[in-house]
């Protein structure tokens, strides 16, 4: 697990009320404004490319692109207009394990403290739930793909053995694999 970028939204229009971390290193906005701007650009590019996996009414949202994730977390601090502000985390998951998720949750709290922001306990619980279900979903998808692949290979071999026609067996096996994947997906959605 790697925390790539952290951005804490400013509480007013003053540039110093923003906080940025680049791979764990604090970015001093008065001295390295361009760096902060490029990090911000990176966040925006990521969001535009990524898939929105989750969004709650409390404005907590999660985006995913491959093994990279972006969490936009509302914090308790309000801006000068009385609006809820948020803290953004861009991170990479390497093993998709429960330990990794726990490590992320610890990091979120640690970085928010460094940025002088407070994430509510309920929000942390919600994040834990979302990340856990996402990883389970990912594992399930891998299992479905594996099963469908096995069905493809098996049906291909059996049909070739029976008909002794290469092209037909390939087509049949692909069809069988696709049907198997479809059935597994429908069954999962029903659950």
């Amino acid at each position: 697990m790697k925390i790539l970028i952290v951005k804490a939204e400013g509480l007013n229009s003053d540039i110093n009320s923003f906080h940025f971390f680049d791979k764990g290193k604090y970015v001093d906005l008065t001295a390295e404004r361009e760096k902060a701007e490029s990090l911000n650009n990176e966040i925006n590019k990521f969001v535009l490319k990524a898939k929105k996996e989750y969004e709650s009414l409390s404005f907590l949202s999660l985006y995913r692109l491959g093994s990279k994730f972006l969490l936009n977390i509302p914090v308790q601090e309000k801006d000068s207009m009385g609006r809820t502000t948020s803290i953004v985390f861009l991170f990479k998951l390497e093993r998709n394990s429960i330990e990794e998720i726990n490590k992320i949750l610890d990091n979120l709290q640690e970085y928010s403290k460094k940025c002088k922001r407070t994430i509510a306990k309920e929000t942390i619980d919600e994040i834990s739930k979302i990340l856990n279900s996402l990883i389970l979903k990912k594992r399930g998808k891998r299992l479905d793909l594996g099963t469908s692949f096995a069905v493809t290979v098996l049906s291909g071999a059996v049909s070739y053995f029976i008909m002794n026609k290469k092209f037909l067996s390939i087509i049949l096996s692909i069809g069988a694999g696709a049907i198997c994947y479809g059935i597994l997906k429908v069954l999962k959605n029903k659950k």
């Binding site: 009385g82 609006r83 037909l168 692909i174």
Partner: protein, 231 residues
């Protein structure tokens, strides 16, 4: 046997469907919503998606992108995507790429922050107290943004529709009494922004409010009229 005979046709059907889908998406246009903080970018974006005005506000820390239920502009042209960039100063540099990509550009400005009290701010609707120095800072920020956008647009081969949308007109009681006269009265103030953005030949101007669903629909309809005029 029947399955194996039908499969190539099914694959062909699927591929043609995908091709048709791609062709259809080519005529879909995108709008980009820009502006300083608190101008109503997220409110407009959410209104376009849900037809509802959100009452729960959050200061956007990330860019927001939404797929729209096709908004017809003219024959064969529809708006299908809307993007609202963040309004903080560290985000301005990331605007360029999206300005280049979008088809229609809307820059939202808060009227209550650029028009002085002489037009009678309705204190029941606009509770926010704005000191003069903050108003001046806001004006300078907007002028600087418009200059930047103008520069980005100049280098482009394809011309884009650029609309200055003045929001929060509902904060002025005079707006509801006589909209036409209200627009006449603030014209001089608005002109300064139009000039900064490149002049009346390039810029289209809209005044309105996102106070509720009715006002928001009127506001959006006026924006659409200006887009159609520009095409």
């Amino acid at each position: 046997m029947i399955v194996s005979l039908l499969l190539p046709y099914l694959i062909l059907l699927f591929l043609s469907y995908k091709l048709l889908e791609k062709f259809q998406s080519m005529k879909g246009k995108s709008i980009l919503i820009l502006g300083p903080n608190c101008a109503g970018k997220t409110t407009l974006l959410k209104y376009l998606v849900e037809n509802k005005i959100i009452k729960n506000y959050i200061r956007s820390a990330i860019v927001e992108q939404e797929k729209l239920k096709k908004i017809k502009i003219s024959n064969g042209i529809e708006i299908t995507t809307a993007i609202a960039m963040t309004g903080d100063e560290v985000s301005i540099k990331s605007w360029k790429e999206e300005i280049v990509k979008c088809d229609y550009l809307i820059y939202l400005i808060s009227l209550k922050r650029i028009v002085n009290d002489s037009l009678g701010i309705d204190k029941t609707r606009c509770k926010e107290e704005l000191p003069i120095d903050k108003l001046e800072n806001y004006k300078q920020r907007v002028l600087s943004d418009l200059k930047i956008i103008k520069e980005h647009l100049q280098g482009l081969r394809k011309s884009k529709v650029f609309i200055l949308a003045f929001n929060f007109a509902d904060c002025f009681s005079f707006y509801f009494k006589d909209k036409f006269e209200f627009e006449q009265k603030i014209q001089r103030i608005i002109d300064e922004f139009i000039i900064a953005a490149g002049g009346g030949n390039i810029i289209k101007c809209v005044i309105g409010s996102l106070a509720d669903e009715t006002e928001a629909q009127k506001f959006w309809d006026s924006i659409l009229v200006k887009i159609k005029e520009a095409l």
